[in-house]
Amino acid sequence: MKRPKAALLLAVVAIFSAPVRADTKGPRLLHVPASSKDTEQGVLTPVPVSLEVPRDLEARRVLLHYHVFGHGEWRTLELHREGTRYAGAIPCLEVSEMTKEIVYYIRVHDAAGAVVAFGGTRASPYRVAIHHSSARPDLASGAAHCPDPAECPPGLPGCPSQEVERIPCQRDGDCEGGLSCGWDHYCGDDPRRKNWLGLDVAGAVGFVSAQGACSVPSQENGGYACYRERDGAVYTGRPIYSNEPLGLGLAPLRVILSFERVLFYRTTVGLRAGYAFAGSGPTLPGAAEFVPYSADLFARYWLKGDPFAEPGLRPFVEVGAGFGEYDVKSSAHVREDPLSPQYSQGGNDLEQTLRVWKRAGDANVSAGAGAMYAFSAGFAAEAQLSLCQAFPYAATLVSGSAGLRVGFR
């Protein structure tokens, strides 16, 4: 025999509480006597719920989530504090005259909205079986009708609990039913994709200093490598330093995989990993080989208000920093010093043009701007232009990239 209505007043009694995981501050399970988890009552009667929350929980709100058989949605009521207890009732009108089952569970939220304790879950709720008076006269209500809501508006002291429209939260785990915790700290159906994977192809044009680029010290310590146009030999002559224009050339093409996380409405951070698949230069004998891999961190500020809420154009500005090598191919006109006492290499004409490779890097900082165009909530294309400064082997690069993005929650 199940417990009658009279016992329902204390349907849920939290006498003890114990941590679910001893090593974390996760939600605690409110221990409820087994006899209170499965109860009965008659039609046309509110379902009273009352519980005592341990003081150390620092509870701010206690929410009762209930579901009436045949209704699609779960509804939420806030229990009122009455001394050391929290109490409320599933309204009489929800119980109505139909014999059915009402299920519910309770979650305790702290001041920040985080769930700090719970009794029952959506998957394993408490149950209240509703019986008609003809079948169970012992459960029959004396009034046999529900009061007019106008006589006792929900939320007023002594009246049924007021339905909660928005459930507070601190993280996604505080929300249920496929909802996520929004930046306003309420559970909701957030349309934003907060995680984005990207695949891009990037190229760059680099500017390097050509002054003294082909001297032996520059080639040994400055990241330069110079080759004669005539026979492709490494240049080891004695050039005269003179005014030289900036060297301008292409940097390697890269394929880039990225992950980006939306932190807030208009702020994202991300990580990129790249691989240079074409355009790297030759390596001087004895020098370190070109490292095709690159990685950098970036942060973006999106210029449009709440850009991830809906598809469309999403312009942004970006700053970043990372590691990577950039081989920039250019050329330099050199004049040989005919009077050099150190006669190092034969076959160098008085004047000649050399192919110059600058291996810039390994660190870099960048700033740029671009735009993402979202075709749908989770699919977009993106293009970007950036100014990048490589150091300590200096080069200034203007890089462009284009690619696709896939967003997910």
């Binding site: 003179s242 005014n243 076959g347 004409d349 008085l350 700033a367």
Partner: protein, 135 residues
């Protein structure tokens, strides 16, 4: 939606920093005007191409391999070329050709150069292979 903290200043500072870094890295080459005077080869510089107005009035083209420094004539070890350029400019263009036909190496007295009108028209450092070939 909540208000966003202004980051315009931070972006501006980053752009300024990048610009400054670029100028620091590239500035010396872009702005320097103190070019070093270019040293010029002379008629006895190893590797110099010397065009000389011979006794016949025709231009002769030589490449200097070495100044032997042997008294009294102090001869220069040279490669004479078969070409007879019409002008010093043409001699310069001919000298740029690494495959320009030449005769057997010879030794000419230094005075031969100083006593005839001549001009250093080009220079190419002498390789070990060339020294071996001409020897």
């Amino acid at each position: 939606m909540k208000n966003q903290p202004p980051i315009g200043d931070a972006i501006l500072a980053a752009v300024r920093w990048l610009t400054l870094a670029a100028f620091c890295a590239l500035g010396p080459s872009a702005c320097s005007a103190d070019a070093v005077p270019e040293p010029e080869a002379t008629y006895d510089t190893k590797g110099a191409f010397v065009a000389l107005v011979g006794d016949s009035g025709d231009l002769e083209l030589y490449r200097i391999l070495a100044a032997l420094g042997v008294r009294p004539y102090d001869p220069l070890f040279v490669v004479p070329y078969t070409a007879t350029p019409a002008s010093f400019e043409e001699a310069k263009e001919l000298a740029k050709d690494p495959a320009l036909p030449h005769r057997m190496t010879a030794a000419l007295a230094r005075k031969y150069f100083t006593s005839h009108e001549h001009q250093v028209v080009w220079f190419r450092s002498v390789s070990i292979e060339e020294e071996t070939e001409f020897r």
